[in-house]
Amino acid sequence: MASGMNFPHAELTPNAEQATDHGAAELAQRSVRVRASDVSVFYGAKQALFDVSVDIPDRAVTAFIGPSGCGKSTFLRCINRMNDTIEGARVGGKIELDGEDIYDPSLDVVELRARVGMVFQKPNPFPKSIFENVAYGPRIHGLIRTKAEAEEVVVSSLRKAGLFNEVKDRLHEPGTGLSGGQQQRLCIARAIAVGPEVILMDEPCSALDPIATAIIEELIDELRENYTIIIVTHSMQQAARVSQKTAFFHLGNLVEEGPTDKIFTNPEDKRTQDYITGRFG
């Protein structure tokens, strides 16, 4: 417990509040990293997402909120084309990463996923050592050649994920032996190690206890210095705490999007207001 509380980024907490306060002003300065235009998703004959258009700002945290089954995870999984792996899923519309259509047939999905990393709801480290978990991504993408390079990447990624001090003595023990929160940070380290531009997080804290959640939220706030982060969350408090921009989904539609402060304090749509005040969902 003591070691859990004693994480190295404790001093960042005030910054996070500050960031949210000035979220709107900050957002305006940011360029657009990911642009979605009229994105629709079908699972077989069933349409799960209806004409979603949203801009994701560079080096900021964008939160997708909404009740279960509203399509926010579906949309998230379009951004690194994880929907391709689902039998019968079709995606319509256009998603651009730095102005490049990611559904263009000439684009290699493997390269896309090297640029757009993903962290899943349930921590899913590989059943291998902590070291191997982090080194795997860079290795398959040909980013590391020597053992020294691998060590450098592993250490720096674990440091960025705030996990290094906790695991430095057992890098060669299985990653599955860590606690849930540590496992999730290991998954974040694993995603960072590839050097992505965008990190997608699909409810990264829903399987964690409040302390582990707090640590991950600190981490997310730190990571936005260097990465564009999109997070799907069920917790509105979490969205309010970590994000600068929020998009509210309902029944497969994007109802409203904007700076987080505005969505939470002065939403335009009645449904958004009902949701954030807890009237449904």
Partner: protein, 459 residues
């Protein structure tokens, strides 16, 4: 949530009081416990019954088969009598003699040696041990296995300096003598129904009493091939090698092909009508009676490809076809059991489908695949029916030196011995062969369990 609570209370409350409700629950509780006890009891009965049958099987096989591992052996001093061994010097290659000439000369000498009456030497030895024996030569020959005179002959031809000397031999008693001494034939039967004459029986008893006949471990059961003329020396070596070759062929062919097909069908193949048909076909093939695979082997491998009859190669191919569906189905189900989160983790990092399969999915399914392979191979090892149709039930008196040679197989050998006319002797032999086959299967399974637990630990 609050809303939900109030509706349930209201609906239950209007029908019965709390006290009544508790009574009803208690009543239903009794029935539930009864059902649980019943099911528990049924389960235990089933387990006890199954274990009981296994125990009976093992007891029966061991009790019948173990005596066959001990066999009557006669110790005799054989005098290589120059009068009987009326042979010239063993030819030696003289300088200038062509190899063909020499080998013709040597073969002539060996042929002459084969024609000598080696049984005379044995007869003399026995008569020296039991001077008072008055039976004739046939009685003596009847209690020593007919293959043993060749042991004496081979000792001489490989070392002609034995001429005029005496050497001790431990020879197998005949199957009939073994039966008589072990009591596997009823000793009170009249002469007409005994396999040995009265004189021969008396001689066998006498030799046993003198300690010249002893029961010793029948190592030739493992080193000799099958024999019909000298049943006491019949062994499993030929069948064992035949089975070994077939198992190697099954392991080399069925495991890689089966695993590769399973991986392709499960991980790479598109899901369409064609793959559905393939899947159904594989499931159906797994249920095809094994003898049908034997027919297929006879028609395709032997009739069409002209592969030799009775060869372990053909047997191995047939068993491979028979084992493939088992391995494919078991491997697919262990692939299907891999958590989707692991696949997503790999794909999310930008691993290609092939990298995902070979770096992450396959390694954790190794234990499952290993189990599948062992089940398949063990099944193949014990299979008899298809082998009968490709001629592996032929009597083969050689140890096969390659998979193209004629051979038998362990289960087929059991089948052949089971049908042998000398029931008294071969009943024990059959069970002994069953023990060897079971031992082989158990050790195969033990290796698999050992490997699996090591693989699982490595995770």
């Amino acid at each position: 949530m609050a809303n939900l609570d109030s509706t349930t209370t209201a609906s239950a409350g209007t029908a019965v009081t709390a006290e009544e409700r508790r009574q009803r629950v208690k009543k239903s509780l009794g029935a539930r416990h009864r059902k649980e006890r019943l099911f528990h009891g049924l389960g235990i009965t089933a387990v006890v019954l199954a274990l009981g049958f296994v125990a009976i099987l093992f007891y029966d096989v061991l009790q019948r088969g173990l005596p066959a591992f001990q066999q009557a052996q006669v110790t005799v001093d054989v005098y290589f009598d120059p009068e009987v061994i009326d042979l010239g010097e063993r030819p030696v290659q003289s300088p200038g003699q062509s190899p063909a000439d020499y080998s013709a000369q040597l073969n002539g000498w060996l042929r002459a040696a084969a024609l000598l009456n080696w049984n005379r030497l044995l007869e003399t030895s026995i008569r020296t041990i039991v001077p008072e024996f008055e039976g004739d030569a046939r009685d003596i020959a009847a209690i020593i296995d007919s293959s043993q005179r060749f042991v004496i002959r081979d000792a001489f031809t490989s070392d002609p300096s034995l001429l005029g000397q005496t050497r001790e031999f431990s020879l197998l008693a005949s199957a009939d003598a073994d039966n008589w001494l072990k009591g596997t034939i009823d000793r009170s039967l009249p002469d007409a129904r005994q396999q040995l004459s009265a004189d021969a029986r008396a001689l066998a008893d006498d030799l046993l009493e003198r300690g010249e006949i002893r029961f010793a471990f029948a190592s030739h059961l493992f080193t000799n091939v099958d024999s019909r003329s000298a049943p006491a020396s019949a062994g499993l070596a030929g069948a064992f090698m035949g089975s070994l070759y077939m198992m190697l062929i099954v392991i080399v062919l069925a495991v890689p092909i089966g695993v590769a097909s399973a991986v392709y069908l499960e991980e790479f193949a598109p899901k369409n009508r064609l793959t559905d048909v393939i899947e159904i076909t594989i499931n159906n093939l797994a249920a095809v009676p094994s003898i049908v695979f034997g027919l297929l082997g006879a028609a395709v491998f032997i009739n069409y490809f002209r592969l030799p009859l009775s060869a372990p190669l053909v047997g191995g191919l047939v068993l491979t076809l028979m084992t493939l569906p088992t391995i494919i189905i078991a491997t697919r189900s262990s692939l299907r059991a891999v958590a989707p989160s692991l696949r997503q983790a790999a794909l999310g990092l930008g691993a290609s489908r092939t990298q995902m399969v070979f770096h992450h999915v396959l390694p954790i399914t190794y234990p499952g695949i290993l189990t599948a392979a062992i089940i398949g191979v063990a099944q193949a090892l014990g299979e008899t029916a298809p082998l009968l149709l490709i001629g592996m039930n032929a009597f083969v008196a050689n140890i096969p030196s390659s998979p193209m040679d004629q051979a038998s197989a362990l289960p087929v050998q059991i089948y052949l011995w089971q049908g042998n006319e000398n029931r008294n002797f071969f009943e024990a032999r059959t069970s002994a062969a069953i023990i060897v086959l079971l031992g082989l299967m158990l050790s195969l399974n033990a290796i698999a369990i050992f490997l699996r637990s090591r693989l699982e630990k490595r995770k």
